[in-house]
Symmetry: C2
Subunit: 598 residues, 2 copies
């Protein structure tokens, strides 16, 4: 019996021939049967092995074993071969229901199986066999071992019995399994590509950032090269925001408990907040969000309708508690810089503002080279604040904005926050993965709680609308997405080193520095490789660093006052005068064009 | 007797004629006698008044009274007049030493005097009189009331008897006093000027920033207009740093206790740190300094001498505890952004680095319009870490850097931090006040504590030198200094609104917007005043906001496609075509010229 098996998989009673099952069920069964075949092979290799559970999982299967020694990669190769033999022999897989007492005899030497038998609330248990292998199992198998498709054992890893760290540590052997060899290969290729693009790996190899577990996990240190990228992102972000009529503000990272009581965060967001610090006998909290601070700026003076819409934006670093187990590189962290904005406006203005924001989201994400987007509209949940008419108006304006922006969207009915409906926008990266970065969200809560108001044209006080929005979401996470999307080979404008000048011999170093200076006057980030190593090494190193341009300088170049240009894909662009290269690079940078490496 | 009187002022035994005393002592006596003359006037006005103490202070004097009702500004005018009368009468001031018993009779109705008599450790007490006025006093007076110089009562304020909030609240009347009318007027003028330039007042009037006591005093909220100024400062700072070979990094605002233990901050800087937060059972602290984080970036990988000097810079926001009583606007706060950098280099490089840093400090401060500087070199204190030879070398290099930069400096022998010698650089503002912003400081401590090293040309491990430096010091404080230096009328490049377009009538609004758009394409921050008010009001409002240029648009301007330009000093620069104005403004902005308002 495989514990992790979904409850609806009481498919053992389903006598439908394998060939007639739907493809998902077929695949599930192939994976489950492969787990049995794996267990058989392990028991052959270690007759004293204790075997535990072996369910189908996404992309394959695993089985947990208690073994006399750790498995080596060589063991996996042997096991893989034995499994193939069993598959080739194409023996039938059979199941029957037997009394618990009989099962206890069969599994007398298998403590994990005995434990499971004790826990089954029935008089009989499933007993599945193929060749000489026997397992305690609820079923859901192929008819024969020849129907397993294409599989491959990948690795083994420790796993506590029942995930309980007080129970024995078992060895979990993982395998991939797909219906065909082609599908298996494609999956492996995609996974390797994802690993090559893994931002944690590239972050290290390209020296972009680090974390320091011992001084606090989930806290990002941006290295010089990461800092250069961050500044480009920030500069572009600020420029675009200022042009779009936003005002940039800067607010503290901490606030007294009273602020978070009034805002309600201590009620509804306490789990995400750090414990308080004591200052002069008062509790202070690090900010998990910027909103209440922006509200203070708004509330600092009496406001008139003439001042609206007011669009306050901040690159505000917030700190949120996350369990250490879920932290993941740049993607899930404990401190991050939100590109946060709060738009405060009159009811008349809200729809146009929402439309502009949605268009602005797409404009900004396109700057960074993303082209595919999907949206989700989350509407009023059962428990909510604010009056239903406002909700309806807000949801309508979100919907119309999506339609006017011609953006495909799904509706998650009832999935909005209690304080307002929202749009989330996913972008799709090169590998087809979706990342939720942008969000546009109404807030009917804070304007009430902080008693925000403006004097209308009628001279009376009114409550403004407030819309939160983040475009990149978190700079850290967006940085991670960018790294993976481009596999580290960022567009020229974002590249930390835009060109590496490579003098072939010492006598070319002067001219190399001249080239560097010239490019720097155009604002380019250019290094000279003065290692004195062989040209091939220097080029290779620059390529590994994903440097967009390598400018090789030898006798001919010095004489002709030219540079020989290679790009990071390995293409030789030939020799050209410096002005020609500069023009090309300026165009590429300023248009934010992306020349992908082949 | 005046309690607050300095102990060395037992000048009553000094029979030197007043005219022969040194000017400081003369002034002290004039101020002290004026306090007596004030008390006399108050007792005339309120015969039931209880009078307490009345010492000379910087710039004048005060006297504390227990009165039947609060004093009004009109009362002060009356008191001032009566004092002048007494001065004119030029009566002698006389003192004698009388037995305590006699004094108790004289002051039988004066509980504060009685309390002081009881506390005097002597058999006799001083008894000073002029006309009918009697005071308990240790002396130190002019000979006659005609020698008081030029004085002026300024205001009254509450003050607890003996500064103890459990004792009665008295009314303290303050007066200014200088030897001559000219000196008094000059002081009042300077003080009014300082008040007009007070960054807290201008910060409010120009809507630059706010603090919110109830949510945490000493925490700065930069408003949109302050944010514009900050971005200009940050952009200029980053650009200059990148050109000077610095690398910009970004590090977290919190770190685990282990970091601060290793760095030593928990030992030697705990008072300046906030109390810890608990995260997963570990103590985390907000950073009071950026140094340990920059060290982690350095230590992240093995370093070679080829990578040095490494200049890591950050606009890093730090949080330091300050008592709430010492907080003062932007000048003394609890959270501020340091323009911090750490230069890590080999011993060979250190002197050149120091010279560059000192020149860089002056270069940066000059960008912001400061021209007068003074330096202080603080050398090895008794308790110090690091070997004496290193100290000597470090002090020498600091000294030579000051000399090479041709910067006047004092030496504060023994006043360096325990971990290294330093230079502090003061700038002088328009009012002649000195502000310490920049500091350049050796650190022999952190490289040891964090075991920093690099591989030298010899293939062996070496300990690098580390130099901390901040140029602006704190962005918040520097912002305050800038506001006061310029009285809010910032140079064009820093002005939050660089030009205000003022259409005289509705029919000029279109052209006004055209002018705005044109100037915006040149990167200018330009508003249009669409209030529809009278031209005079609009101009006045823009002037009060210290807007550098006001561009008036009327029929003539629309017809001739010109703008009529006024600057904030009120000068009418006449009508000119837009391109001419743009050229002028671009020049002024890009050269960072300052046109002071008259």
């Amino acid at each position: 019996m495989t514990l992790d098996q979904p409850a609806d998989a009481a498919a053992q009673h389903d006598d439908t021939p394998f060939a007639e099952l739907d493809p998902d069920e077929q695949l599930r069964r192939m994976r489950h049967s492969a787990a049995h075949v794996l267990a058989e092979a392990v028991l052959e290799m270690f007759p004293e092995a204790k075997y535990a559970i072996g369910p189908p999982i996404d992309n394959g299967f695993y089985y947990d074993f208690d073994l006399p020694r750790p498995l080596t990669p060589e063991d996996l190769t042997v096991l893989d071969k034995r499994m193939r033999k069993t598959a080739k022999r194409n023996v039938p897989i059979q199941g029957e229901w037997i009394p618990k007492a009989q099962a206890r005899e069969i599994f007398a030497n298998q403590p994990y199986k005995l434990e499971m038998i004790d826990e089954i609330d029935d008089d009989t248990v499933g007993h599945f066999t193929h060749a000489k292998f026997e397992d305690l199992c609820r079923g859901g198998h192929t008819e024969r071992t020849g129907q397993l498709g294409a599989f491959k054992l990948t690795h083994s890893a420790g796993a506590y019995w029942r995930g309980d760290e007080n129970r024995p540590m078992l060895q979990r052997v993982y395998g991939l399994l797909f219906p065909t060899r082609e599908e298996l290969d494609a999956y492996i290729e995609a996974r390797e590509e994802a690993e090559r693009r893994d931002h944690r790996r590239l972050g290290r190899e390209l020296d972009l950032y680090s974390t320091h577990e011992e001084y606090g996990p989930g806290l990002i240190y941006w290295h010089p090269k990461g800092g250069r990228i961050r500044m480009e992102i920030e500069d572009a972000w600020r420029k675009e925001h200022i042009e779009a009529g936003y005002e940039i503000v800067f607010t503290p990272h901490i606030g007294r408990g009273e602020l978070w009581e009034t805002s309600g965060h201590l009620d509804f967001y306490a789990d995400g907040m750090y414990s308080p610090m004591d200052v002069d006998g008062n509790d202070y909290y690090m900010k998990p969000m910027n909103c209440p601070f922006h509200v203070q700026i708004y509330n600092n003076t009496r406001r008139s309708y003439r001042e609206l819409p007011m669009r306050l934006a901040e690159l505000g670093t917030v700190y949120r508690y996350e369990r250490s187990g879920v932290l993941h590189g740049l993607m899930r962290v404990r401190g991050f810089t939100q590109d946060d904005s709060h738009i405060i406006c009159t009811p008349d203005q809200v729809e146009d503002e929402i439309v502009s924001v949605v268009e602005f989201v797409l404009h900004i994400l396109r700057l960074f080279g993303f082209t595919e987007f999907e949206a989700r509209l989350s509407t009023r949940p059962e428990k909510s604040v604010g009056d239903p008419e406002q909700w309806e108006m807000a949801e309508d304006s979100l919907r119309r904005a999506l339609e006017r922006a011609d953006l495909a969207y799904e509706v998650d009915a009832g999935d909005g926050a209690f304080y307002g409906p929202k749009i989330d926008i996913d972008l799709t990266d090169t590998l087809g993965r979706k990342w939720q970065c942008s969000t546009v969200q109404f807030d009917f809560n804070l304007p009430e709680r902080f008693d925000m108001s403006y004097i209308g044209e009628d001279g009376a006080e009114h409550r403004p609308y407030m819309v939160h929005r983040a475009l990149l979401g978190s700079l850290e996470r967006f940085f991670g997405v960018l790294i993976e999307h481009y596999g580290g080979a960022l567009p020229l404008w974002l590249s930390p080193v835009q060109a590496m000048v490579i003098p072939i011999a010492d006598r070319h170093v002067d001219f190399a520095h001249h080239v560097q200076r010239e490019l720097r006057t155009q604002g380019f980030r250019v290094d000279v490789d003065t290692s004195g190593e062989r040209m091939g090494n220097m080029i290779r190193r620059a390529q590994l660093q994903k440097t967009p341009y390598m400018l090789v300088i030898g006798d001919r170049e010095v004489e002709a006052e030219q540079v020989s240009v290679r790009d990071r894909s390995g293409d030789d662009l030939g020799a050209m005068p410096l002005f020609q290269l500069t023009d090309r690079m300026v165009d590429e940078r300023d248009s934010r064009t992306y020349q992908p490496p082949v």
